[in-house]
Every structure is written in structure tokens, then in C-alpha cells.
């Protein structure tokens, strides 16, 4: 599959704007002068060695982590300590976690309808219809009445994707969505994500699945030591990496 098989090239409409953003954990300077503009419909894959700050970066976009310097504007709303703005941004930005973070005391269907009912104030029946629509889309409508603990890892991650989609987000963040899965289940989750990309969803995805990056991304970002070291189209990034650090990284992960 090539880029051409996917949705048309992204617009000039800005979805996320990050300017000179810095973050520290105590004394540790975890993100340094991050500048990043994400256009609507863009699919960005972020990779890098562990501890490079890639997860922290996307967690800043829906303020699961607080940045200390610089500006982050998401969908026209700047993230400050204003709680109302934060909740607004979070309801427009979906997030999929490495460990799914489904709610174990609720059924799959309730997991999907909870936020639309309590945040969007959607009537229960309508929320359930939407939930079934998205559960069908991730190909597990028959599991709606089960609890997350009864599902396989791959199924749980697909429920997590459906749960985010039920809020009809404008942007989706993926934080290593396949890292906690058995090899047999990675494909079903990646297929779901590819499907989503095909429909033009704006996506930021932290992943080590380089096949996915080549197939889906418009842009690949390589991070090291809290900085963006290199960004390019997948073709250029993989075939013609510019920095030494990127070359080393690629040789490590592709070099078996």
C-alpha cells in the first residue's frame, strides 16, 4: 500500500499548533523546544528510543501532562490551566492507550456510551446506536454486552478505539496502541487504524510498527532526548534518513 491509496492530501487547516513547548519532570528536561504543526487530515507517526519523550509529547496535546513553557493550541483552543478549556479539548481529542484503560466495571457498550451521555448529553438510546455503529466498524458488535475482562487484548484495544470514536473526535492520539498485544492481535488493531486513516481522521500515533508508518503516515517524526530530531515523509525518512541518530535508530529496529 502506498500513500496514494489513502485519503487526499491534508488541508492547510491547522488542527494542533505547538510552539516552543518545554516540559520538565522535576529537574529532568523531558521536552525541549518542541515546534509542531499538525494539519487537519494529517497522519503523523512519532517514533524514537524509549525515554525520548514521544509519549509525553502526545499526552501534552490533551493535557494528561502539563507543559511548563510555550503554547499548545488544539482545534483553536489554547491549553492553559482553565479547566473548562481542558475538558472541551479532551472531548474533541480521542486517545487510545497502550494498556487500553477500559472501565472494567462497565460492559463494552456502557464503556462506549458513558462519555457521550455524560459529556455530550446525548440521549441514552442515541448513544447506544452510535456505540453499536462504531463497535460494528471495529468488527466486534457481538461483544457489546460483555465486560472488558472477558475479551482478548486485541478486542479490548478495538473497544478502546470505538469508545474514543463515540465522542466523534476531530483528532485521535494513539500511545503505543499495539505494544501490549500478542503478535497475533497486532494486525487486527492496525487494520482498524488503517481504516480510520483512510476516512481522513487526523491522527498522531506513537508506535514502533514501521510497516504501519510506511503504509499510512504522511509524516514520520523521530524524537531523541526530548527533541524532534528529524521529520520527513515516510519514503524519505526510511530510504534517506538525514541525521546520524536516525540512521542508528533505523538500523537498530530494521536491522535483523
Amino acid at each position: 500500500m502506498t500513500d496514494a491509496a489513502l485519503a487526499p492530501a491534508p488541508s492547510t487547516d491547522v488542527a494542533v499548533q505547538i510552539e516552543r513547548m518545554n516540559k520538565w519532570y522535576g529537574q529532568f528536561h523531558v521536552l525541549r523546544d518542541i515546534d509542531l504543526t499538525v494539519y487537519r487530515g494529517e497522519r503523523i507517526v512519532i517514533c524514537g528510543p524509549s525515554g525520548s519523550g514521544k509519549s509525553t509529547l502526545i499526552r501534552c496535546i490533551n493535557r494528561l501532562e502539563e507543559h511548563q513553557q510555550g503554547r499548545i493550541v488544539v482545534d483553536g483552543t489554547e491549553l492553559t490551566s482553565n479547566l473548562k478549556n481542558i475538558d472541551r479539548v479532551r472531548s474533541e481529542v480521542g486517545m487510545v492507550f497502550q494498556h487500553f484503560n477500559l472501565f472494567p466495571h462497565l460492559t463494552v457498550l456502557e464503556n462506549c456510551t458513558l462519555a457521550p451521555i455524560w459529556v455530550r448529553k446525548v440521549p441514552k438510546r442515541e448513544a447506544e446506536e452510535t456505540a453499536m455503529h462504531f463497535l460494528t466498524k471495529v468488527k466486534i458488535p457481538e461483544q457489546a454486552q460483555k465486560y472488558p475482562g472477558q475479551l482478548s487484548g486485541g478486542q479490548q484495544q478495538r473497544v478502546a478505539i470505538a469508545r474514543s470514536l463515540c465522542m466523534r473526535p476531530k483528532i485521535m492520539l494513539f500511545d503505543e496502541p499495539t505494544s501490549a498485544l500478542d503478535p497475533e492481535m497486532i494486525k487486527e488493531v492496525l487494520d482498524t487504524m488503517i481504516e480510520l486513516a483512510r476516512e481522513g481522521m487526523t491522527m498522531l500515533c506513537v508506535t514502533h510498527e514501521m510497516g504501519f508508518a510506511q503504509a499510512v503516515a504522511n509524516r514520520v517524526i523521530f524524537m531523541d532526548q526530548g527533541q524532534i530530531v528529524e521529520q520527513n515523509t515516510p519514503r524519505e525518512f526510511f530510504n534517506n534518513p538525514q541525521s546520524e541518530r536516525t540512521k542508528l535508530f533505523l538500523s537498530q529496529i530494521l536491522g535483523h
Partner: protein
């Protein structure tokens, strides 16, 4: 079969082996005997010793209890019957003290004609918790649970029905305002609206209705009372205290509100400011300002008595009033125990959330509260309730002792509940909060829908443990002059009829407490299993 394939290195299974039951030695009674009782020489010896000890205990106790005498009017009579039936000095229980005095032990001085009321109240209380505990019942029944406390209060204390009815009405209005405004504007504004309704409905902030309160005193009733007390301590300083107190109160409110405002939560700032101002100035619980001869609900809600008197004049509906001094025995223990249990859980949950809060002041206040309350024995708090509060109240006020004890037990148990719930909160993976936050759920919704249901489930054993302890600790009120079963046991033993009896009464009391506590324990185990199953 596949063992021909097993001869070679390459191997492919052709038939799957079906599942078989375990061998007989690993099942049922045989396994239990082998592993639990007779697994080795040491265990066989221990089993025999245990059997011998059990025999030693029961050898004397069973005949003593079984041959006990049930019908007698006094201990002397009991002994005479014993001597004639079993021979002089036989060791035999005299259960007659229970048949003679069970009514006192159960109901205290409750009027004999009204004895149907406490058991009915208990049955109502047990029915009212059913919809809370069993999610399978229709959600509408929760309305009945909400109404139950007022009916129970009315049943227990009697008097006009209008007081509890008006109180329920006011709280209902406040709840309605909270829901209506909360839906439109968010939880913070909802809480603010409810608070406004509460103030208007009950607290008479402008002192318009309650006679005798001056204009300014009506607005800030706590200040004159406190100022008067302080002036008495330091004579000649009367003019200083009132302005000083007002200034200190306003400063505290302003400090808190400003802190919250800066933390980016103007609504929380407004709510906390309003609540604190109300507590500081308005004497929310009307303990001090309004001369509290009428305690209980009347003291809590000063607006209720005048209106209820007026309505009673129009339509006198009511039961015979029962004074709280007449409560005694198990009725007293259960009233105090169940009230404190019902009230301490929500307070404990709030304290646990407060202690984990990011807002420094809220977490510091919660932590200080928990540590201080836990660090001091309950009996000290009960003596505080009995004695010290009276020193702080203006002369002439008489604030119902039973209510004071319920409040103290609630405050005490809440500190323990808070720590148990905090443990439950800490046991949840961080991802649960992040999952809820990433969906845009505001704090209170996330807590109510995601975090607390899971944390409380983990905390059930600890919570029930605290409840059982609290229920048994109600016997401590015997030391502050209340007649709970222990108090009555002493009184009965001081009676000339029953002087010298002790085992029988205390065994009876122990059995009743055991029945209640064991029921709670079994219930919590059942609840745990049920919740466990529903999530698998």
C-alpha cells in the same frame, strides 16, 4: 493414537486428549481430610489437641446453658428452683433475667404503648437500603430510600409529621435545584444553587422568622455569640472582638477563594467561599445562636419549627412524642450505630478524595482532620460531646446528648472510612483516571462513574470492618450516662432482685451484637462475590 509419531522427532498431534476429572484422592471430603486434618504426624497431634480443647470448653458450658432456668422473678427464686431441680449449688444458668428484663434491654424506657415503632423503623431502614445495595431493583425505588430517613425519624421520635415533611421538602427542593442547574451549568453551579436553596429554606439567613434575633445578629449570628464568650474571658475588650472576628472570617474566606480561583476553578472558588462563609457566620447547624432547647432537627433547621407549629395547628397529624432520654438498650445502640454508619460513608468518601486532592489546602485540612480524629480515643470524643460542648455553648442551651453522640460517632468513623477508601483509590491503576479524563469527563463525573465504584468495591471488606467496629463501639456511651445494653446490664445488676448475676446478661448482649455483626460480615462477603462475578 499418536505414539507412533512420538518415535520420530517431527511430531504432529492427530487427536486432542479430552479433559478428565481429577483422581478421587484430590476431590471432596477425602481430600479435605487428607490435606486439612490428617496430613502428617504433627497435624494429627494438633487435630487431637484441638478436639480435646473444644471438649473442655463445651463440657461445662453446654449443660450450664441447656439446663438453664427460664421462669423466675429474681435471682433468689432462680436459685431455689435450681436447688430443688438439680441439687444444691449445681452450675446452671439463670436465663430468667432475660425473660424478666428483655424489654428494658431492647427498648430502654420507650413508652410501652409505642413499642411497635422502633422495630417498624428498623424494618423500614433495612428495606430502604435494599435499592441502594441491589442494582437489579428498579431505580425508582431509590426515591423511597431517600424518603425513608424522614419516616424513620418520625416513627422513632414521634411528634408532628410536619417537621420531617417540611425538612424533606426543603432538601428535595435543594436537590432539584442542584440537578436542574447542574445539568445546565455544571456540578459547581449545581452545588451553589442547592446551597442557596438550603440557606433560604432552612437557615433563615436574615433572621426574619425566628423571633428575638436582631438585624445584624440575624445575618451573622455566630459573631455576637462568640464575641460575648471572648469578652467574658478578657473583660473590657467587648468592642474589639466583633469586628476582629468578622475580619478574620472574611480573610479566611477570601484566602481560600483566591487560592481556588488561581488554581483555575472559579466555580469551586465561589462554592467553597460561600460554604465557608455560611459555616463561619451563619451557624449552619444553629448550635449556638438560636438557643437550642429543641435539639435534633429543630436545631439543625431553625425555620422548620415555626412553620411546622403553624401547620400542626391547621392539621394536627402526629404520633406521641418520645424524648431521646427514653431511648435505651438495643434501640439506642442501633439508632446511633445505623445513623452513624449511614452518615459516615459519604463523609469518609469526601475526606478520602480531599486527602488525595491536588489543592494543597483541601488536602491539608482533610489530612489534619483524619489524623487528629484517629489519634484520639473514641471515649475522649464522647466525653467531649457530653461535657465540653456544653462549656462552649451559651448558658441555658441544652443540645440533645443523643444527637451529639451520633455526630461524634459519625465524625470518628468517617476518619477511618476515609483511610479505607483512600486505600481503595490508591489500588486503582492510574490509567482509569486517565481513561476518564481523556474522554473529557469532568472530575466529579469521573469520580462518581468510574473511580469510586471501583474503589469502593475494593474497599468493601475494610468499610464493613469499620462499620462493625463502630456498631460495637456504641456500647461506650454507657460511660457517658446513656442506657445502652451495657448501661442497663449495670442497672439490672444493681437491682436487689438480680444482684449477683452477670454471665447471663452479658452472654445475651454478646449474642445480639454477634448476630448483627455476623450478618454484616456475611453480607459483605456475598456482595464482594457478586461484584466479582459481574465483572468477569
Amino acid at each position: 493414537m499418536s505414539d507412533t509419531d512420538a518415535q520420530t522427532v517431527a511430531f504432529a498431534r492427530e487427536t486432542m486428549i479430552p479433559a478428565a476429572p481429577p483422581p478421587a484422592s484430590q476431590r471432596g471430603a477425602i481430600r479435605w481430610l487428607r490435606e486439612g486434618v490428617l496430613s502428617g504426624p504433627l497435624n494429627i497431634v494438633l487435630t487431637l489437641i484441638s478436639l480435646w480443647v473444644i471438649w473442655l470448653v463445651l463440657r461445662d458450658f453446654v449443660p450450664w446453658a441447656w439446663r438453664g432456668i427460664w421462669a423466675a422473678g429474681s435471682l433468689d427464686e432462680c436459685r431455689a428452683i435450681r436447688d430443688s431441680r438439680y441439687g444444691d449449688g449445681a452450675s446452671v444458668a439463670c436465663w430468667a433475667v432475660i425473660t424478666d428484663r428483655w424489654r428494658q434491654l431492647t427498648f430502654g424506657f420507650y413508652p410501652v404503648a409505642e413499642l411497635w415503632r422502633p422495630p417498624l423503623a428498623l424494618v423500614l431502614a433495612l428495606l430502604a437500603v435494599l435499592p441502594v445495595l441491589f442494582a437489579g431493583l428498579p431505580r425508582r425505588l431509590l426515591w423511597l430510600s431517600a424518603a425513608a430517613p424522614f419516616v424513620i425519624y418520625w416513627l422513632l421520635f414521634g411528634g408532628t409529621i410536619w417537621g420531617p415533611l417540611l425538612t424533606a421538602l426543603g432538601l428535595g427542593l435543594a436537590g432539584l435545584a442542584a440537578v436542574a442547574v447542574g445539568r445546565q451549568r455544571g456540578t459547581g453551579w449545581g452545588a451553589l444553587a442547592a446551597l442557596a436553596v438550603l440557606l433560604a429554606a432552612f437557615l433563615d439567613p436574615f433572621g426574619l422568622v425566628v423571633a428575638g434575633a436582631g438585624w445584624l445578629d440575624g445575618i451573622v449570628p455566630l459573631v455576637p455569640a462568640l464575641a460575648a464568650s471572648l469578652s467574658a474571658l478578657a473583660p473590657g475588650s467587648a468592642a474589639v472582638w466583633a469586628p476582629l472576628l468578622v475580619a478574620a472570617g472574611l480573610a479566611l474566606v477570601g484566602f481560600l477563594a483566591a487560592g481556588l480561583w488561581r488554581a483555575g476553578s472559579p466555580v469551586a472558588a465561589a462554592v467553597v467561599g460561600a460554604v465557608l462563609a455560611a459555616v463561619l457566620f451563619l451557624d449552619l447547624f444553629a448550635w449556638i445562636a438560636w438557643g437550642l432547647d429543641a435539639a435534633r432537627l429543630d436545631g439543625l433547621f431553625p425555620l422548620v419549627p415555626p412553620v411546622s407549629d403553624w401547620l400542626s395547628g391547621l392539621a394536627p397529624l402526629g404520633l406521641t412524642p418520645v424524648d431521646s432520654d427514653d431511648f435505651g438498650g438495643f434501640t439506642l445502640s442501633i439508632t446511633i450505630g445505623l445513623s452513624a454508619i449511614a452518615l459516615s460513608l459519604p463523609l469518609g468518601v469526601l475526606l478520602a478524595l480531599g486527602r488525595r486532592s491536588d489543592l494543597l489546602l483541601i488536602s491539608a485540612v482533610s489530612t489534619a482532620y483524619i489524623e487528629v480524629i484517629r489519634g484520639v480515643p473514641l471515649i475522649v470524643w464522647l466525653f467531649t460531646a457530653q461535657l465540653l460542648l456544653n462549656y462552649f455553648l451559651p448558658p441555658g442551651t441544652n443540645f440533645d446528648l443523643m444527637l451529639r453522640v451520633i455526630i461524634m460517632s459519625t465524625l470518628f468513623a468517617a476518619a477511618y472510612i476515609a483511610e479505607v477508601v483512600r486505600g481503595g483509590l490508591a489500588s486503582l491503576p492510574k490509567g482509569q483516571t486517565e481513561g476518564a479524563e481523556s474522554l473529557g469527563l469532568p472530575y466529579w463525573s469521573a469520580m462518581r462513574l468510574i473511580i469510586l465504584p471501583q474503589a469502593l468495591k475494593v474497599s468493601i471488606p475494610g468499610i464493613v470492618n469499620t462499620f462493625i467496629g463502630l456498631f460495637k463501639d456504641t456500647t461506650l456511651v454507657a460511660f457517658i450516662g446513656m442506657f445502652d445494653p451495657i448501661g442497663f446490664a449495670s442497672a439490672i445488676r444493681a437491682d436487689t432482685d438480680w444482684q449477683g448475676i452477670y454471665w447471663e446478661i452479658y452472654i445475651f448482649i454478646a449474642l445480639v451484637f454477634f448476630a448483627f455483626c455476623f450478618a454484616m460480615s456475611r453480607y459483605s462477603i456475598w456482595l464482594e462475590r457478586r461484584l466479582e462475578r459481574s465483572h468477569r
